[in-house]
């Protein structure tokens, strides 16, 4: 553990670290563009230059001291790149000194010479590292009056990424990412000096399942998303920390929301799960279903066969009556891995208390083609493991065919599908189950072929509209909070919302956006239990989770605050905290308040009411 001194402040660094890394872990941000902890350090942006020196030694090996007894430091005549310079015992680094500040100003001035300064047009504006550093580390004036270099603009690199060569500052992060992380080196520098630009090799495309990570890696707006292009300014959006429901990996992500619509998803650093990355499929497919094709209100099938919207009270009354109308043995339940742990626990309690003889089947969605050796896994549902752990012996081990045979032979008269489209996942078999059931109850968030033939549809909240936890494929329990408001749960304290969504009035055309009457499953079941005459006393997801933590062994002693603090906890490992890791965040929309304030404020608000 070498001790280094940055501006005289002692820092315990780790062997083999660079100065920049050690400083960053101790809360001192030395500016950097090209350095990234996951990749090699080429030291080509030159903004991280610092003054470096060692105590001077006498010929006998002892340290030379001045008249006050302090060691005399001999500094290197030239500034050194801190991202490349390894730490060693007694190293002295000067960061806040005129010489270094002068060099930062010079580097920023050089970088901005050929930068087009088209921030009003650029999508990166607001979360741009160059913009940020231009405030902190530059004079704010340019002496350059000549014509700027012109380079190709909007070059299509691949299906998801667009390149603007003028904005590029040649940090080579994207090149090293493609080479070192993706092992798919299709891009490289061409030309020299101020004409340097990045090009694809002839006949290639930057088409990789993880290509969109370069958008967050790029410190400027040279690489931007084709999907998000000009949709909104980042400062108009709110970014809520959440967990990707696209597969069982459970990558951490931010949900970018404007006017109650999700506009984009982007990775959130969690070194225990997804590090800094996220796959393109997750970003592009996991938000459209939240915005579109939703079931806005519970639906009941009337006598003439059409689905009509009803209130929640009416829908839950119908639901309870339908469950009561058949014998518990004749109820078949199909559960999805999309349910949160809270939902699964409430379902378990509901089954055990009211319909203990029901046949419960977990629907798994596996896609071997989706799997790879980086992040993506075969299981396409975020919480299969959690639902399995919580439902446990409630689950019956049945194959799809057996379930279908039971439905067709009328052993099961009432089929209750939670959170899935039968036909989409099970194909022909699923359609036969949907058609063969005497009564079909569906709890779903999106319109599908199954909801269209249902007798009762309960509108289910998606991951973006509820608080809860997912257990990923490695058994890590991760907490997420709502990003969108619903008609059932309007905006409240602590929830993230952009300035416009927060301040807009009812008569502003833009504010609020669609508000849906959807509920998480635990809320429906708690309300149904109160119809049956019992009070479960679940007012918020945290109540359900507290009950879950007391009942199910793996979740013992977990709380939302603890999950947030440790960025997820593996099942049954509450008492063995993992060694602390530094979660590096390159650049994001600033100022960003403490993300996890939500839980505390939310709890306070609940108490206050």
């Amino acid at each position: 553990m070498p001790t280094i001194y940055i501006d005289g402040k002692p820092i315990e660094a780790r062997e083999g670290q660079s100065i920049l890394e050690a400083a960053l872990e101790h809360g001192i941000e030395i500016p950097h563009f090209c350095w990234h902890p996951a990749m090699s350090a080429p030291a080509n942006c030159r903004i991280c230059l610092v003054k470096v020196g060692m105590p001077r030694r006498k010929p006998d090996g002892s340290f030379e001291t001045d008249e006050n007894g302090n060691p005399v430091i001999q500094y290197m005549p030239k500034l050194q790149p801190s991202c490349r310079y390894p730490v060693s015992e007694g190293l002295h680094v000067l960061f806040q000194v005129p010489e270094v500040i002068e060099s930062q100003h010079a580097v920023m001035e050089f970088l901005l010479i050929n930068h087009p300064l088209d921030c009003p047009i650029c999508d990166e504006a607001g979360e741009c590292k160059l913009q940020e550093y231009a405030y902190f580390y530059s004079r704010g004036k340019s002496r350059f009056v000549e014509e700027k270099n012109h380079k190709p603009k909007h070059v299509i690199w691949g299906p998801n990424v667009i390149f603007d060569a003028e904005r590029c500052i040649s940090c080579s992060r994207c090149i090293r990412y493609a080479d070192e992380i993706l092992h798919d080196p299709v891009i490289d520098f061409v030309d020299r000096g101020d004409h340097v630009t990045i090009e694809l090799f002839p006949g290639t495309q930057f088409d990789n399942p993880y290509s969109m990570n370069v958008i967050e890696l790029c410190p400027v707006g040279a690489l931007t998303s084709r999907d998000f292009r000009f949709k909104a300014r980042v400062w108009e959006m709110s970014f809520t920390p959440s967990v990707c429901p696209g597969c069982a990996r459970g990558c951490n992500m931010y949900v970018g929301v404007l006017h109650n619509q999700i506009l984009r998803l982007q990775p959130r650093t969690n070194m225990y799960v997804n590090q800094y990355w996220m796959c393109d499929a997750g970003r592009l497919t996991q938000y459209p279903f939240v915005n579109e094709n939703r079931i806005d209100k519970p639906l009941v099938c009337t006598e003439n066969g059409t689905l009509t919207e009803v209130s929640w009270e009416e829908a839950l009354d119908t639901f309870w009556n339908k469950l009561q109308s058949v014998d518990a043995k004749e109820i078949g339940i199909v559960v999805s891995g999309m349910l949160t742990n809270e939902d699964a626990f409430a379902l378990r309690r509901f089954i055990q208390e009211y319909i203990p003889a029901a046949t419960v089947m977990l629907m798994t969605v596996e896609d071997p083609e989706f799997e790879d050796d980086f992040l993506r896994v075969r299981d396409r549902r975020p919480n299969t493991r959690g639902v399995q752990t919580i439902l446990g012996d409630v689950l019956a081990s049945l194959s799809v065919e057996e379930f279908r045979a039971k439905v067709e032979s009328k052993q099961l008269k009432l089929v209750w599908v939670i959170g899935e489209d039968l036909e989409q996942v099970w194909g022909e078999e699923g359609r036969k189950i949907a058609d063969g059931a005497d009564t079909l109850i569906v709890a779903a968030s999106n319109v599908s072929s199954t909801t269209q033939v249902a007798d009762l549809v309960l509108s289910l909240a998606t991951y973006a509209e509820m608080e809860g936890t997912f257990t990923n494929i490695d058994g890590r329990v991760q907490h997420f909070i709502p990003a969108l408001t619903t008609a059932e749960r309007p905006y409240r304290w602590g929830m993230k919302a952009s300035r416009w969504d927060k301040m807009g009035a009812w008569n502003d055309r833009w504010s609020h956006g669609p508000q849906r009457h959807c509920r998480p499953l635990w809320q429906m079941l708690a309300a149904t239990a109160s119809i049956a005459g019992h009070s479960w006393n679940y007012r918020k997801a945290a109540d359900v989770f507290a009950d879950l933590a007391q009942t199910v062994e793996g979740f013992a002693r977990m709380t939302y605050a603890l999950l947030d603090e440790r960025r997820g906890i593996p099942l049954g490992k509450v008492d063995e905290p993992e060694p602390p890791v530094f979660h590096y965040d390159s650049h994001r929309l600033k100022p960003e308040s403490e993300e996890y304030r939500y839980v505390q404020v939310y709890d306070k608000a609940e108490q206050w009411w």
Binding site: P98, I101, D118, C119, P120, I121, A125, R139, G140, K141, K153, H154, R229, F230, K231, A232, R233, W235, E236, R499, W500, M503, G504, N507, D508, R509, W510
Partner: protein, 165 residues
């Protein structure tokens, strides 16, 4: 105070003298509806978008919307083939919210939104007070006064930092 000052009478007489002088002097008041008011470039009336010869100047950067204290402006961007590849698909100013502070004009990096001399605004309902692009775009020739005034009165000069000295 002297005796005469304590009396106040001479002061009252002097004040009344000014009043009577104004009574018979030239009139400053404008007989508004009959007589129109034509302010100079200094006037901050209804904010409008500048329409250049080759199209609108606005690139939908959203800074006016961000800086607007009463949230009167909404901008939605789209892509065009022009050199500045971004343009406002939707640009709406809610004139019931607008407080005529001129911050939108001050912040605009393209000199695309300026305060016009339009001071006569009548709306019959809330909806008609939300002005879209078709009502906001004004040819640049009609806004010369204001543009000149703005160039003469540069608002912002980056302050010299201590470390530069």
């Amino acid at each position: 105070m002297t005796f005469w000052e304590k009396l106040y009478l001479p002061e009252i007489a002097r004040g009344l003298g000014i009043t009577f002088k104004m009574l018979i002097g030239p009139k400053m008041t404008i007989q508004y509806p009959e007589e129109k008011y034509h302010p100079g470039g200094y006037y901050r009336g209804r904010p409008v978008l500048v329409l250049d010869e080759d199209g609108e100047r606005c690139v939908a950067c959203g800074l006016c919307s961000r800086v607007c204290p009463p949230l009167a402006i909404e901008v939605r961007a789209g892509e065009t083939d022009r050199e500045k590849e971004r343009y406002p698909v939707k640009f709406e100013i809610n004139m019931l919210r607008c407080i005529f502070c001129g911050l939108c004009e001050e912040v605009c990096p393209e000199e695309a939104i300026v305060m016009s001399k339009d001071l006569e605004m009548v709306f019959e309902n809330r909806e008609s007070a939300i002005l879209g692009k078709e009502k906001l775009l004004v040819p640049v020739a009609q806004l010369q006064d204001r543009l000149e005034y703005l160039r003469m009165h540069q608002y912002y000069e980056p302050p010299a930092r201590a470390q530069d000295a």
